[in-house]
Symmetry: C2
Subunit: 264 residues, 2 copies
């Protein structure tokens, strides 16, 4: 079923956007045990609160991580794309609080938890890279909280589009200003804490203002600067450890005046 060429290169690529790896470490990653699963659109492959002991690398297609409420409400908390990891928490603990499901058909590599254990024991730098991915996931998650909590409907959708553009570009899946977006307006609503009908109206408004254009499942950002402005988009939360702001020669936190020094 799977083409013989399929391997974990997308994961490798992803890790290397944030971390430096030696060529030996690259080989270790590519030699990780896994087996492939070809998934159909909207199949839920990691159900909420289910027990499993493996994690997944999304090799192709789009997926979303979501949580559903008792009343049937649903919030999408992450959009996953090629190279993204899912289910690390399950690999370490056996279960997690969220569901992951495909939005398009796609291909995932299931990696047994034992492989993670082995990395922990023998590959500190790879573990650092994986841990880093978890941290960047957290950064995206925080930005989503900001997005939902503090921006109006226009800003929320604009920000989501900006984020996806940058991430897809980083992942080598398209241009920052033009990319496939297989999410329905219903799913966009679940990403942004809005209702589908309001998403519809806001998208129309963004189109009318010449900021974006979209036809069937494909988005073009016509005016990146304008969209980023109403989104309040600051892409630094998506970037790796590059030089920060470099205001001075490595200054320590200046605001620690009231701090008392003691010896550990």
């Amino acid at each position: 079923m799977a083409s013989p060429q399929v391997d974990l290169t997308p994961l490798l690529r992803k890790l290397e956007t944030h971390s430096a790896l030696t060529s030996a470490e690259r080989d270790v990653i590519l030699a990780l045990p896994f087996h492939l699963r070809l998934l159909s659109a909207s199949s839920q492959f990691l159900p909420q609160n289910e027990v499993t002991r493996q994690c997944f690398v999304l090799l192709d297609g789009y997926a979303v991580r979501s949580k559903v409420l008792r009343d049937g409400g649903r919030q999408i908390v992450t959009v996953l794309m090629r190279g993204d990891l899912a289910g690390v928490q399950r690999a370490l603990f056996g279960r997690a609080d969220n569901a992951v499901e495909m939005v398009t058909k796609g291909l995932v590599a299931a990696i047994p938890a034992t492989a993670i254990d082995e990395l922990l024991a023998t590959q500190p730098n790879i573990v650092r890279a994986l841990w880093s991915e978890t941290l960047f996931d957290g950064a995206i998650q925080r930005e989503w909280a900001v997005n939902i909590g503090r921006r109006d409907a226009h800003g929320r959708l604009a920000h989501l589009l900006c984020e996806l553009g940058v991430r897809l570009h980083q992942a080598g899946l398209g241009e920052r200003e033009q990319f496939d977006l297989p999410l329905t307006q219903n799913q966009l609503a679940d990403c942004t804490g809005l209702t589908p009908v309001h998403v519809n109206r806001v998208l129309q408004s963004l189109r009318r203002d010449g900021l974006i254009s979209n036809e069937l499942r494909r988005v073009t950002i016509e005016d990146w600067a304008g969209l980023a402005r109403i989104a309040g988009f600051d892409e630094r939360y998506l970037r790796g450890p590059g030089p920060a702001r470099r205001t001075g020669p490595f200054e320590l936190s200046a605001t620690l005046q009231g701090a008392v020094d003691a010896r550990g």
Copy 2:
């Protein structure tokens, strides 16, 4: 000022709520190098986008992690309490996208990034525990996105109070139904994506309905079940790897069995 007894026990306690550690590993953690900083209320000790190479353990007091928007808006994305880690991303990368600031006066232990490097190289199980903390942080963060995105004002505040009750109880800082809450209504608004005046009105309404009572900086949950109901609170996202639903006979974390068989 700092009692000679001060050490990293709160971190240890925190890690052990989610992970199992040997006594040797406990000793390693308690022997980590750090120096203490006594911080005054509302001092921002980890400014947004600033470069530093250490992480912090909150030993006493309350802090919040927040992101500020260009327009001055502000979203609190986490409430930190005794034992919580902050700045791991900074330790690994040198900077992060969020600010951390005290809400009360408090005490933090600053741990140099080099200590983390050493743990990576020599203490896989401690690294696993730390990584796990990052994962649980992520779970809380996701739940906040759900909270802000999919609940009305009453539900949001109710959920926040439930979460804080459980976490404070886990951390040994109070009862689940009664605890100190030093956040102002302004800060509660920044946690929930609401305005301060609306927070005020909703709190009054919760009080009127006999769900909570609060006087200066202390909250009592009078009707946990009722509050949890309108919050849609499901505390599983805060819990460790213990038995999931306990539907079956087994209850050890050796729930590894259900895993789909994968041959490398």
